[in-house]
């Protein structure tokens, strides 16, 4: 008992420590210089990571039995309370968020050096960490919704951090508005949940799914899914994420690559006991995941902004996680979430280091040949590239292979899905190879005389993440099911798709490695050896198709333009009409009528308040008689 109480208290700490740090820094903004700010924020991040690690280990010793803490009950019926939980799932997220937060803050201290709003950046950053932890540690949907909204807010603040740039302010708005569409769905889902289950508590809801009609469960899942699509930038709500790259690069690394955008995946795994009862929702998830993975991977092929390539790659990888959820491989989804968090954070921080050394130049056509100038960054980003491409034994291989194999094992139409996902994996390797080669290898004829290796505060986090990107995959291999054991209790009542056995698995693994290698090799042939310049494209009539692909890719299949034309302009015209006709005439007219009528009748009644006692006495007597008459007229009264 004693042990439990201690632990319960301690896992609350990492949630509120970042919040306290944010408030503390905000209050002392004018007093603190950069050094003191860095000192506080880094120590607080390190402390919360240490506590998180302790709590996680203690949880592990207790066989990952969930711990619940209810801070207080707000309303007893319906049961709405403020509480937190620590189980395998939220434990992993706790470790991930606090750990990456520390590493990325370490990087940020150097990246944000001499920024005029240096302290504000860390205030927002800590506030983000707090909101994210609120989201993942909640034991009910209400607290999760608080976190869900707050991460949206802090993401908005960080995207438009350099709000003097019009593009940044615009990108922040776009992210906020598109997320609103998703949140709208999420909110409706919550209302249906409250109506059906009369509580927000995860455990009470997820253990009582048997008696509920499948249509209700599907409705809940679909509305929550809309929320997940918004937050995790899935098709069709993905276009905010590439624009969100206007924010500071380390913030992008944490928010728009490693943690916040995975909130949708986390939430879907959390509600997996519900989700498994809805075939439609699962099918929709896998289809939309596939569309997203392919579309984003295709769009990444011809991007020239160092961060936008990574943004599209993030969307594509999130698509993979959704594919896993749709295929019922919840463990694989979380596994990919974890590995992706590490190598994508590594890639983003590497990109940040490059941008820093290139004096805020982001066009990869103006880079090239940076490998000799920045050897550590180049090698670490190389590791990241290999990891994301799925080259064994790096992290990405294990998780991606598990996803592909889980899709395959479902059979039927899922064979097609598997083939498409394999194609997306191939594209991933291709554009990531291109990305690395264009930055570090290919000679573009630019003199980079003033470019030097990034400072140590930047390379150290890179090295750390590089090591993790290599080895983190070993937590859940076909030979060692570590993650499955961690999530075992959380997914107790859930049918998780398992890996195929024996020779099938080997063949699938070889195929997925093959896809990765092929992609990398083609990228090397095209951009490393510049093959297309040596062969005559006109002879094979390839120039047209290649240009078409380039054009479509850099314009994201013209989806944004279509969306702008259809939704933005169309909505503007429609809303103008609605404003004039419906709002102006109908609603305003009726509201004005009601208010004038109210005012007039108020004036008429006021005239009865004469101030003369004789009138009051008359009213008194009259109304008394009226009331008695009314009472006698009541049918129930006996005479």
């Amino acid at each position: 008992m004693y042990q439990e109480v201690k632990l319960e208290l301690i896992f609350i700490l990492p949630i509120f420590l970042p919040f306290l740090t944010a408030v503390f820094l905000f209050l002392n903004k004018k007093l603190f210089n950069e050094l003191i700010t860095n000192f506080f924020t880094l120590n607080s991040a390190l402390l919360s990571f240490a506590i998180a690690a302790y709590a996680f280990i203690a949880l592990g010793l207790d066989k990952f039995k969930p711990i619940k803490v209810e801070l207080f009950q707000w309303i007893s019926n319906p049961d709405i309370s403020i509480g937190f939980t620590l189980d395998g799932l939220s434990g992993i997220m706790l470790i991930l968020v606090t750990g990456l937060s520390f590493v990325i803050q370490l990087f940020s201290t150097s990246y944000m050096e001499k920024d005029e709003n240096h302290c504000n950046y860390f205030v927002y950053f800590n506030f983000f960490v707090f909101s994210m932890l609120l989201l993942v540690m909640s034991s009910n949907f209400l607290v999760m919704f608080f976190g869900w909204e707050l991460v949206g807010l802090s993401s908005y603040l960080l995207i438009s951090f350099w709000s003097k740039k019009p593009a940044a302010a615009k990108a922040g708005n776009k992210a906020f508005v598109i997320n609103r569409v998703g949140d709208f769905g999420f909110l409706i889902g919550l209302m249906i949940i409250l109506d059906t289950f009369n509580t927000f508590d995860f455990y009470k809801i997820l253990q009582n799914t048997t008696g509920i009609a499948e249509s209700t469960i599907t409705a809940i899942s679909l509305f929550l899914l809309l929320g997940a699509f918004g937050k995790s930038a899935q098709f069709p709500l993905f276009s905010w994420l590439p624009d969100a790259m206007e924010g500071p690069t380390p913030a992008s690394a944490l928010i728009h690559a490693a943690t916040m955008v995975t909130a949708g995946v986390f939430m879907l795994v959390r509600i997996s006991p519900l989700l498994q009862h809805s075939k439609i929702a699962s099918l929709l998830i896998i289809i939309f995941g596939l569309i997203t993975a392919l579309l984003a991977a295709f769009s990444a092929i011809n991007q020239f902004d160092i961060k936008k390539v990574l943004a599209y790659s993030t969307i594509s990888q999130l698509g993979f996680m959704f594919i896993a959820i749709g295929a019922g491989a919840y463990v694989a989804a979380i596994f990919h979430l974890v590995t992706h968090a590490f190598f994508k954070a590594l890639l983003f921080l590497g990109a940040g280091a490059v941008i820093h050394s290139m004096h805020h130049e982001q066009d990869i056509r103006k880079m090239g040949g940076l490998r000799k100038k920045m050897p550590i960054t180049a090698s670490m980003m190389g590791i990241g590239t290999l990891a994301i491409s799925g080259i064994p034994p790096l992290a990405g291989f294990w998780s991606k292979d598990e996803i592909l194999a889980s899709v395959f094992v479902n059979g039927g139409i899922y064979y097609v899905f598997w083939a498409l996902a394999l194609g997306a994996a191939f594209l991933t390797a291709f554009y990531m190879g291109r990305h690395w080669l264009l930055i570090f290898e290919k000679d573009n004829g630019f003199e980079h005389s003033d470019v030097a290796e990034a400072p140590k505060a930047m390379t150290r986090p890179l090295l750390l993440l590089g090591i993790f990107s290599i080895f983190i995959g070993f937590i859940n291999t076909p030979f060692f099911h570590g993650l499955e054991k961690v999530l075992h209790v959380t997914l107790e009542n859930v049918e998780v798709t398992h890996l195929p056995k024996g020779i099938t698995l080997v063949v699938l693994a070889v195929l997925s490695i093959g896809a990765g290698f092929t992609g990398l090799i083609i990228a090397f042939l095209l951009f490393g050896m510049e093959l297309h310049k040596r062969i005559n494209l006109k002879k094979f009539k390839l120039e047209g198709p290649i240009n078409l692909v380039k054009d479509l890719s850099s314009n994201v299949l013209y989806l944004n333009k279509f969306g702008n034309f259809f939704f933005v302009s169309g909505m503007k015209n429609l809303s103008r009409k609605v404003a004039v006709v419906v709002d102006g005439m109908l609603i305003d007219g009726s509201v004005n009528f009601v208010s004038t009528a109210f005012n007039k009748s108020s004036k008429i009644t006021s005239s009865t308040q004469t101030g003369l006692v004789r009138n009051y006495v008359v009213y008194f007597g009259l109304f008394l008689l009226l009331l008695i008459a009314l009472f006698i007229a009541t049918p129930l009264v006996s005479r």
């Binding site: 108020s602 004036k603 006692v613 009051y616 006495v617 009331l627 009314l630």
Partner: protein, 490 residues
């Protein structure tokens, strides 16, 4: 010795709060007529008297725990949950309004003691009224309380409005008392009983179908007498004039204490005496509720005097509270919750008014607070909290109380009442938000200058505002208390 007192049911603890107040009054009187007493002595004597009253109320809880619901003094004084809650509320009203009424009394120098005596006597009367089992006892308590209030309204003799208010209050109040006594007489004529419990026993004995009409009319007249005191429409006409004319420092006390005691007595009457025939009062109570909320909203909408505005808002709130009292036992508990949160806000608002316009002022125009926010942030914020609480904005206790009340009405399938109450709430936002707008948002030339607020006032306003927010966020504790009050009457 013991046997005689046992037969008569003499128990001094049960009337100890009244006795404590009487004792304080006698000490004050003695001080004034014998030697010239400095002001601070009077202050401490009256404050200690109030604390003593609170302590004796605490003693009554002990008596209740040992004896349960019991009656004393040959079935004239009753000790039950309603009495306890009512006693506590009156004690709290005394405590919270002490600051205002002491400062007002201090200002009318030659009549300080009179004012204090009137206030304490009225409190003792209302305590007696709450404790009464016998209708005659109820009437005596009501009169002791009311007559003191009439005098209190006209205490500022230099002010014409104050004189007018006192006279109006007295004339209309005596009319209401007449009707009240007539109701008692009718009940006595028809059933030969004059007790709260006796009535319900008699009704159950002759059967709800055979109750004579005279009893019904008598009960209605008694209820009307009480409705007059809580200013429910159509008997609200006195309230705005009296609130407007009376010294601002006293209005908070006058309004709350009468409301608290009358509503507690009404609740007991409904829960005990009318248990078997409550269905037949549905239409009556429904009519009063709808009239109250509609009349209150219509009168309040164009009000430029803030004290009158609060008076009309009081009419609306009375309608709300009545709607709960007439709809089941949980309705009574919801109403009590409503009543408690309402008096907290009411005391707060009148404290703010008396700080801004001075203790003795009578009318208080809305222009008096224009641009208040600029120099007096604290007052404006607390004032806004109270106003928003009255309006029923979420996160304040006003929202929770309306929510509990309306959900209860919904479960009793009183959809018409629910609709009317909701619409009134919407209309209410118009006139509750206007003073806030004038105080904080509207641009104006002549801003209210910085007002020196005493620390005691700050503490009081802070506590009341904090309670308003607290009961809006965590209403559980108070809900449980009000549930406990009605549990025995399920």
């Amino acid at each position: 010795m013991t046997t005689v007192s046992e037969i008569l049911g003499i128990n001094y603890i049960v009337i100890a709060p009244t006795l404590a107040l009487l004792l304080t009054v006698i000490v004050l009187l003695f001080c004034t007529i014998t030697i010239s007493t400095p002001m601070y002595v009077k202050k401490y004597v009256s404050f200690v008297g109030i604390l003593l009253t609170l302590f004796t109320i605490f003693l009554k809880f002990g008596l209740f725990l040992t004896d349960g619901i019991s009656s004393y003094f040959t079935e004239k004084i009753l000790l039950d949950e309603f009495a306890l809650v009512g006693n506590v509320l009156v004690g709290m009203v005394l405590l919270f309004t002490f600051n205002s009424f002491w400062k007002t009394s201090e200002l009318i120098e030659d009549k300080t003691t009179e004012a204090l005596i009137l206030i304490l006597m009225s409190a003792s009367g209302f305590l007696l009224m709450i404790d009464a089992e016998n209708f005659i006892m109820l009437f005596i308590g009501l009169e002791i309380g009311s007559i003191s209030l009439y005098a209190l309204a006209g205490l500022n003799r230099g002010d014409q409005l104050s004189n007018e208010a006192a006279l109006k209050y007295f004339l209309l109040g005596s009319l209401a008392s007449c009707i009240f006594v007539y109701g008692i007489a009718l009940i006595y004529v028809s059933l030969s009983i004059i007790g709260v419990y006796e009535t319900s026993i008699a009704i159950s004995f002759i059967g709800p179908d055979n109750v004579p009409l005279t009893t019904f009319v008598g009960l209605i007249l008694i209820i009307v007498g009480l409705l007059f005191k809580v200013a429910a429409a159509p008997f609200q006409a006195w309230a705005p004039d009296v609130y407007q004319g009376s010294p601002t420092g006293y209005v908070g006390y006058m309004a709350t204490v009468a409301k608290v005691s009358s509503f507690i007595v009404l609740a007991r009457l409904v829960a005990v005496s009318l248990t078997f025939i409550i269905d037949q009062f549905d239409l009556f109570f429904g009519a009063v509720v709808i009239l109250s909320v509609l009349a209150g909203a219509l009168f309040a909408a164009n009000q430029s005097d803030l004290k009158r505005l609060i008076a009309y808002s009081g009419v609306i709130q009375s309608g709300f509270i009545l709607s709960g009292i007439s709809s089941g036992v949980y309705g009574i508990s919801a109403s009590t919750f409503y009543l408690i949160t309402y008096i907290i806000q009411l005391i707060g608002i009148f404290t703010v008014f008396s700080i801004i316009s001075g203790q003795l002022s009578s009318d208080f125009q809305i222009s008096n607070i224009s641009g208040l926010f600029k120099e007096n942030k604290f007052i404006t914020i607390t004032f806004s909290i109270f106003m928003l609480g009255l309006a029923g904005l979420p996160l304040t206790s006003g929202f929770v109380s309306k929510f509990i009340l309306i959900t209860n009405l919904w479960s009793y399938e009183r959809y018409i009442l629910v609709t009317v109450l909701m619409l009134t709430t919407v209309a209410g936002f118009y006139f509750y938000l206007r003073p806030i707008w004038v105080a904080a948002v509207e641009k104006t030339e002549n801003v209210v200058e910085k007002i020196q607020v005493k620390n005691s006032d700050k503490l009081l306003l802070g506590v009341l505002a904090a309670l308003t927010i607290y009961f809006g966020l965590l209403p559980d504790s108070l809900v449980n208390i009000t549930r406990w009050m009605v549990e025995g009457y399920l």
